[in-house]
Symmetry: C2
Subunit: 431 residues, 2 copies
């Protein structure tokens, strides 16, 4: 006699999208750190709590709710592409050339991240290639990984992506028969994340020239991420790639009010040519019917009131002071260590650190262990390297001066210097 | 001598996700209607502008911005799953059984639509089957279509999905060797969209019993959409499926503050068991890092203040009056037409209309043309039918009393009756 054993039915079976959903590599590191509240985080790219425009948004919000008609409109569903008044305000603020046309091609999203994710999702098939600076924004690399796309690194210097390296990468891919897979170039021209570089006017023109040279051989979209553009501490704004003549039919520009105003609003934007505009709008309609109308009306109120520029003056001053504090601490504690290098960023939130050759800054490395032990946290630079096309420098780290006050920045850098020394890196001449 | 002609390079080549992004079938109909501003829309499921809680949200917003520490927190990034205080508030409000556990399994999203989309995206592979009431929420059908999943209709009566029909559908699919493809049952137990039905206590228990019967043979997730649950005009709340003992390891419950508070906030929520919770959280992290913290704090403020119940009293009264106005108009203008049928909904925003046999209410039908011509808009019922499993009744229409004031409701129904008569439907005994 035999008993038929039935295999127990699983409780839930995920589909392939659920099974392959990967966590941000960085998030497990961050939760590690939170276990010790005394840890000084120079890692997460949050903004400075003290700079958040409570008074300004309180005023605008008060005005909005004092006008029942306007408030009702803000509390009702908006459109999928977002509030027209805000789209026009953004377009006129950020584009000198054809602002009205940009407003018509703009989609307001949940931060610029949703815009970049939607654009990439609609553009890319698995195996498609996006050329990125090496290093580049690790969260965007994760978006690409999630879509099964390939990120290929292009060499950089103090001005960001090197035009000759971009040309070389395209030639290499053409020779390898992979040119048809190259779908986009992703750039953060101002105060890049993580390397804090800014592309000069000449550099921008050269990059556009390379794309122009390949125009008839390849179908490459230029994706420009302007997240940090307004956090300039010194010098003059450099025209955007769109204003410098980037082909509007092959250029996407995105921006956000997370860094210059408040991330808790989740108001981002992007401009895109057809047919991507239609595809993205449809996908956003399926996902969330459009981002919160209330938040869009608040940001429109800030723009229309002229408060943003006054706020930006204070914000830049605050971040400049914190940048100075971090750089002063680096000069004091890190510069004496042979093999350590960093540049002084002219804006943004980051300092990119090159450590002595052989210093293992990754999550399995000795420096990471020592730093955790001493109570300081950074982003291992290796997360910021595309998987193809350029060597991964494991002796690098991204530091941010965004969150901590000056004295904690100084203490964090001191602890990091200790950790570097203790981790016994080669190239370190003294104990 | 030959000239090599190079085929011009396309400006942009979309990936398969971009190419297949479909528009909401309804959106083109809606834009048609907007061309004539005099048109009375009984179509879009918007909420009544006049009922939006301007004063309440103004008060909560004023209190928030008057407390710089709380305001700064609200303006900073939140977490991917959303504000803990709000999650606990929701769990204690909507779940009698194990509220704390529900809070821990809750994700706050951009309306409940984003929750339903994320859950479906993580759960379903192309070709997977979701069993739905026939008719059901057409926007959810579009989510399934977009994922390449199959929606299969299950017969309904005045209490929603019929347990015997669900049992029959499962037997049929088992016989056809397709049981392993059945991944979920989607239900709107209270004031369903579009049919306005509410499942009785007994009906809920019977549906749970069918799922229990199949528990060891199939892996079926119960997806419960509570969008309209709090818009009850009369009678007592019926316990939710979770509180009636639905298996917490195989049940998803979602809800939203779009209908009971304000859609412009885009605050929705859902509770889900593992491994879906982890997969959805990861995907949301990749897409938007979490929904706006500010909006979550505003809703938490409304919940904590106790204002929601007072607001709901007024809201129910307002919608009840509008329901009564629409039903009175139906009784006056539609009931005399042979073959027209409708029930009086006990809540929600909709009246489901069955028209005379042969009346073509679809977008290519005579009734649609006549209605547009006379200036009244409805949702063709055929959009609400899953593609498989049950016949599509083209002689149906969804009407909403949510948006228009009573006198416009009356006029809209009068015009609709005229359109039905003019369209010369069989079964209409008089001119």
């Amino acid at each position: 006699m035999s008993t038929v054993m039935r295999r127990p039915q699983p409780l839930i079976t995920l589909g392939h999208r659920g099974r392959s959903a990967s966590s941000q590599p960085i998030s497990s590191l961050m939760s590690l750190a939170l276990a010790n509240p005394a840890t000084i985080s120079l890692a997460a790219g949050f903004v400075d709590n003290a700079t958040l425009p409570v008074e300004e948004l309180g005023t605008i919000s008060g005005e909005l709710f004092a006008d029942p008609r306007a408030a009702r409109e803000a509390l009702q569903y908006g459109t999928v592409v977002g509030d027209e008044d805000l789209r026009r305000g953004i377009a006129h603020r950020y584009f000198a050339v054809q602002p009205e046309r940009h407003a018509e091609r703009m989609i307001l999203t949940a931060g610029s991240n949703q815009f970049l994710q939607l654009a990439s999702e609609c553009l890319l098939d698995p195996g498609d290639i996006v050329l990125c600076a090496s290093p580049t924004y690790f969260v965007y690399l994760n978006i690409l990984r999630d879509l099964g796309a390939r990120a290929r690194g292009v060499g950089t210097d103090a001005e960001g992506m090197i035009p000759d390296e971009l040309e070389g990468a395209l030639r290499h891919l053409a020779t390898a028969g992979e040119l048809a897979r190259v779908k986009a170039v992703y750039l953060v021209p101002d105060f890049d994340n993580p390397a804090a570089t800014t592309m000069s006017l000449e550099r921008r023109k050269q990059i556009l020239q390379v794309l122009e040279n390949w125009r008839d051989r390849a179908t490459i979209l230029l994706i420009v991420d302007n997240a940090y553009r307004e956090l300039r501490f010194e010098g003059e704004d450099i025209p955007s790639l769109s204003d410098l003549g980037a082909d509007p039919e092959r250029t996407v520009e995105s921006g956000t009010f997370s860094k210059n105003l408040a991330p808790g609003l989740r108001v981002g934007w992007g401009v895109t040519p057809e047919p991507l505009y239609t595809a993205m709008t449809r996908r956003k309609g399926i996902i969330d019917f459009g981002s919160p109308h209330l938040n869009q009306r608040l940001v429109a109120g800030i723009l229309n009131s002229g408060m943003l520029d006054e706020h930006l003056r204070r914000l830049r001053e605050a971040y400049r002071a914190k940048r100075d504090a971090m750089i002063a601490a680096c000069d004091e504690y890190l510069r004496p260590i042979a093999g350590v290098a960093y540049d002084v960023p002219a804006g943004g939130l980051y300092v990119w650190l090159t450590l002595p050759e052989g210093c293992a800054a990754g999550p399995d490395g000795e420096l990471w262990k020592q730093a955790l032990d001493k109570g300081v946290l950074y982003v291992p630079g290796q997360y910021c390297y595309p998987e193809e096309g350029d060597r991964v420098a494991t002796n690098t780290a991204r530091l941010t001066f965004g969150v901590q006050p000056p004295e904690r920045l100084r203490e964090g850098i001191r602890l990091l210097a200790e950790a570097i020394r203790t981790s016994g890196t080669r190239g370190n001449p003294e104990p």
